[in-house]
Symmetry: C2
Subunit: 218 residues, 2 copies
DNA sequence: TCGAGATAAATTGTCGACAATCGACAGTCG
DNA sequence: CGACTGTCGATTGTCGACAATTTATCTCGA
């Protein structure tokens, strides 16, 4: 690896963004050690911004900083997966409930657009594209919840979830099958008459299902 | 303020702990600016550990770091309160549900002990003592959930909640009144026959009630 | 008197160097 | 032969100084 140029403002942020990308696309693997002096040379900066970037990654749950021993990319375990989805499920369920309370027309349109894109991706078995629009579909009602605390917590969890996704083989079949539940979620969200509890249950159940699936390879 | 001595290991951690105490007991008020050079002199260390402590406080949501502008103790707003309790409610609800799934006898005993202490404190109108045991009561089933991710998230939220508590006048009357719901939560948690959904609903409802109370002074 | 612009002070961001600590290896002793 | 201890290299923790930026102050003119 050679020295990379990144002039401008916000050194720590830019470094952490680069590292996040590297972790999410598995250039950096779970358990890998991040050495300050190496990254210092790699980015052509001093150790201070590198250390601050590490703190940011730690906050986001992507690395673990062990005092006087170094920082390591977090290793995904079965336990992490078992703990992740129930928490994400209740939070997204709450987000859906709160979003349902004040849905705007454009939010509904955005949801419908993402769902159509998901259908198209499923038809061509483009799993990667499907996942992108699937993520955006969820993002719409999360943002629409208007609860900034909730939004931040979910976004952090979803970032970690991106690490998890490598361990679950998203098949075209699963894409096809999950279209139905998203259609129902869309309908419920856009129907003011729908019971808030029902909207919440649909979303929560949809996410909890990830745990039931047995194909996780660890 | 004079220089304070804190030898030993974990400078940043010790500094952040000191600052957390100061923020929670309102020695440092919302909106106050934390200047690196001042704290550096106060603690008799360099700016590096102070900066790391700031990052820790930011992660915990107690301060806000604005780039090139300084770090400020977070100001509590009505919006924060409105966003806080629904999120805490669903998370503690989930914790209670998961704890209910594998309650040990000693957890039940601990719950009962805390509830008795709460009753005693309520009888003598010792609100401070009541709140301490109330916090521990919740802590028991949170820990019993066994979900470390969930535990960490709730603990962070509860820390922030400690800041909120100054804005709600906890009266002896409220203590007395909340004994009943805690008795029901205790019974539900300790009864294996109880429906998980019911346990979750009880806890979630109890926490969401904080929002309905009108006595918040902002 | 008030406001805009220039200047000065204060504060954060970054850097390179030194100190403290950890892990591995080798040597010694039982 | 195995376990313990001391040393060495590598890496993190801390420091003080400098650079960049923001905020406060001062001056000048309308």
């Amino acid at each position: 690896m050679d020295t990379i140029d990144l002039d401008g403002a916000g050194l720590p942020h830019r470094i952490s963004q680069t590292l996040i990308k590297a972790i999410l696309d598995r250039t950096l693997r779970g358990g890998d050690r991040l050495v300050e002096t190496e990254l210092q040379k790699h980015f052509g900066v001093s150790r201070s911004p590198v250390r601050e970037a590490f703190r940011d990654l730690e906050k986001r749950g992507l690395v673990e900083i062990r005092a006087r021993r170094g920082t390591f990319v977090k290793k995904i375990t079965r336990k992490d997966i078992n703990e992740h989805y129930p928490v994400l499920a209740v939070l997204e369920g709450l987000a859906a409930r709160q979003a349902h309370g004040h849905m705007r027309r454009d939010s509904g349109k955005a949801l419908a657009a993402e769902l159509r894109a998901m259908e198209a991706a499923a038809r061509t078995s483009d799993v990667e594209l499907f996942l992108e629009h699937h993520g955006r579909f969820h993002g719409v009602y999360i943002q629409a919840s208007g609860n900034q605390l909730l939004i931040d917590m979910i976004m952090d969890l979803r970032l970690r979830g991106t690490m998890l996704r490598y361990f679950y083989p998203h098949t075209p079949a699963y894409c096809q099958q999950s279209l139905d539940i998203h259609q129902r979620i869309l309908s419920a969200l856009c129907n003011p008459q729908e019971a808030p509890g029902q909207v919440e249950r649909l979303v929560r159940g949809h996410i909890e299902e990830m745990l039931v699936l047995k194909e996780w390879e660890l």
